[in-house]
């Protein structure tokens, strides 16, 4: 392994390679509850070419490689199951391009949600990306590659659906580009080319190392609001979600229940977030949303919480501060994720099962 470390040091610089017990311990675990598994060495590359050279070396010596973003996944995906190299992408954190007219951003794999969000707010305030409720250090590439979702997913799908293109280093060391970026300087679409992105999405980095990607950007509205629709019967939730989503007004739609605080326990809440360019448009959208669930309101069995502006702020934050703190193990948070992706009509059953599990 010392020879491998030396070779890696020639590629990235010796200060960006470590086989020391401290690094191997830190990189042995993620914030989940899976048992730690140490790598043999940790490497932090700074360019696609460095990643290419590392993969060539690993391939030659048949050394497993685990790419790592911010390491916030909870299910052990970033652990070195068979030792080998952990490839920490954090130095490759550049925002390469923001194309405002075509609404996309090209970022390196180590670029974080928070970095892009801050960059857009400063330089392109009319645009935003879909961010998950995770600590801002979570990487865009990591989240896209596991089909993550976020604050605009209700309107536009999983974050993998928002992908315009990929640059990937294959296990053989070849560098491939997928999407329009393969045939032009623009990263605006995956179609109508044969779409090979599926070979790298949902594979947890086992089929190649993503070094760069382009994601769609969306209008950042000047005026934003949220409605929190409350009912007591989980059987009503699928229809409520159907109606609210049917307005096509919401950017984000989330159903939740929490046992704490006490006032929330046993009540089902459906948050719908929406934005507009003018106040009049915002009110128009609000009225459409409310009209969609009028039947429940008229029966007095459900209604929108009367939240003054100051109390809406936690629901309008992106990422949600409470949730992202809740998820941040390094700051005292952390949780086991009993998540399920399912058709809407199965919500009541899933809710009841969730209560049993909890």
């Amino acid at each position: 392994m010392q020879e491998i470390c030396d070779e890696l040091g020639k590629i990235v610089g010796s200060e960006y390679v470590s086989d020391q017990p401290e690094e191997r311990y830190i990189y042995s675990m993620d914030p989940g509850t899976m048992p730690p598994l140490e790598p043999d060495v940790v490497v932090v590359p700074n360019s696609t070419d460095e990643v290419r050279q590392i993969m060539l070396l690993a391939n030659k010596h048949k050394i497993p490689v685990v790419p790592l973003g911010a390491g916030l996944v909870l299910s052990g995906l970033s652990r070195a199951l068979q030792g080998g190299i952990i490839l920490d992408m954090k130095r490759m954190n550049r925002i390469a391009e923001v194309n405002e007219i075509s609404r996309y951003a090209v970022v390196e794999a180590g670029a974080s949600q928070g970095m892009l969000q801050a960059y857009l707010k400063k330089h392109h305030p009319g645009l935003k990306h879909s961010a998950p409720d995770a600590p801002p250090v979570a990487t865009i590439a990591g989240n896209v590659s596991i089909h993550g979702s976020g604050h605009i997913s209700h309107a536009h799908g999983f974050h993998s659906d928002m992908l315009n293109g990929l640059e990937v280093v294959l296990p053989t060391g070849e560098v491939v580009r997928i999407g329009s970026c393969a045939v032009s300087k623009y990263w605006f679409a995956r179609a109508p080319l044969p779409d090979l992105a599926g070979l790298f999405l949902g594979w947890a980095g086992t089929t190649g190392v993503i070094t760069k990607l382009a994601i769609k950007l969306y209008p950042s509205y000047r005026f934003n609001d949220v409605g929190v629709f409350v009912c007591e019967d989980p059987q009503l939730v699928p229809d409520i979600l159907y109606r609210l989503s049917g307005t096509q007004m919401g950017e984000d739609l989330a159903a939740w229940m929490t046992p704490k605080p006490d006032w929330a326990r046993g009540f089902l809440h459906c948050n719908i977030n929406y934005g507009a360019n003018t106040k009049a448009e915002l009110i128009w959208k609000r009225n459409l949303i409310r009209a969609s669930v009028k039947e429940y309101i008229d029966k007095k069995i459900a209604g929108f919480m009367p939240l003054p502006a100051v109390m809406k702020q936690p629901f309008l934050e992106v990422p949600g501060r409470v949730l992202s703190r809740f998820a941040d193990v390094r700051k005292g948070g952390g949780f086991e994720y009993v998540g399920a992706i399912m058709p809407v009509e199965l919500f009541p059953d899933a809710y009841r099962l969730g209560l049993e599990i909890a």
Partner: protein, 342 residues
């Protein structure tokens, strides 16, 4: 227990039916108003029970102090005609219940009752509150808000315990028998609502504005007139104690601000709109808020002055968006003691 003190004969013989005729949100001619009033008295269906926005104003309109609004709330609850959807009502009842965390604490006069507004205890500061102590928490919450939810039963259940808590945990052993109520709601609860339901109050409530007026008199040599135009957002709860309105003008005069003449002030004040939103009547809330804010803006005011924290939470953003500074009366009085350019 704690039956509502009202005389149905007074209502039956009333010629003017002011409670409904003066309503700002429901429109009846006199014959209709009397008919609806009889429906309420006799426990029959009445559109008043569903149309009422619960602004409390009819409590002030009734020349006989016969509690017309509390009658409406009684009937709403009897008939299950809750103004606010059931899940939200239930959540609020849980949210605002006493947490049982109160402990015996010595206090000294003046004691400022902050009710269940812990976020506003910072208002109790400076010369105006020198040597004051304050009490705050869920265990002393006045509970008058249930009038908006058609829940007199919750008031009956919880308010007597709140009164006992204030007396037994704070005032009695401290040798204090006066309580300055920061909010109109609390003052209205202990001086008007409690007697209406036969709930005894062993301490003397003092309206915040009366307290501030006295303090301003004591400190008058230190007052630096603010010299601004202001609008006052009269809260619904002041309709329970309209006799305290003169303190508003008194304070404004002492701190050197001009309460502008505007359409939606004093007897014509408009609800802040938040209860209408709770009732899911957004169109009405939008209309009421717009008229109110347009009125303030056209009057060219620098400040919109609030007594009620809930009104302020509701309207502050909209007020500020129109270039008007939202401020509690207590804080505006503090401004009169600030040095120039501070």
């Amino acid at each position: 227990m704690y039956a509502l003190n009202f005389d149905p004969q007074i209502c039956e013989q009333c010629e003017t039916c002011d409670c409904l005729m003066k309503c700002q949100y429901m429109r009846y001619d006199l014959a209709e108003a009397k008919a609806e009033k009889m429906n309420i008295l006799k426990g029959r269906e009445s559109k008043v029970l569903t149309d009422c926005v619960t602004c409390y104003a009819c409590e002030a309109y009734c020349p006989s102090a016969n509690h017309p609004f509390y009658q409406i709330v009684e009937r709403q609850e009897e008939k299950g005609l809750l103004p606010v959807p059931s899940p939200i009502t239930k959540q609020q009842i849980i949210m605002m219940q006493a947490k049982g965390t109160i402990t015996p604490t010595k206090v000294h006069s003046p004691v400022i009752n902050m009710c269940y507004f812990p976020m506003l205890t910072g208002c109790v500061r400076g010369k105006l509150y020198e040597n004051a102590s304050f009490i705050v928490g869920s265990d002393i919450f006045c509970n008058v808000m249930w009038l908006h939810f058609g829940k007199n039963s919750v008031i009956r259940e919880r308010l007597p315990r709140m009164v006992e808590n204030i007396w037994n945990f704070y005032l009695k052993d401290s040798g204090v028998d006066e309580l300055v109520c920061f909010h109109d709601e609390c003052y209205g609860t202990y001086t008007q609502l409690a007697p209406a339901f036969g709930i005894e109050v062993p301490f003397k409530p003092v309206h915040l504005f009366e307290y501030l007026s006295q303090k301003l008199d004591e400190l008058k040599d230190q007052i630096q007139p603010i010299g601004a135009k202001v609008a006052y957002q009269r809260p619904c709860s002041n309709r329970l104690v309209p006799q305290t309105q003169h303190w508003v003008d008194d304070l404004f005069q002492k701190i050197g601000v001009e309460r502008v003449d505007r359409r939606y002030d004093r007897e014509n004040s408009l609800c802040c709109g938040q209860v209408m939103r709770a009732q899911q009547r957004d169109d009405l809330a939008d209309d009421v808020q717009q008229r109110n804010l347009d009125d303030m803006q056209q009057a060219g005011v620098a400040y919109c002055v609030f007594n009620c924290p809930a009104c302020m939470f509701t309207l502050a953003d909209e007020v500020a968006a129109r270039g008007i500074f939202p401020i509690l009366m207590s804080d505006l009085c503090q401004v009169a003691f600030e040095k120039p350019n501070s």
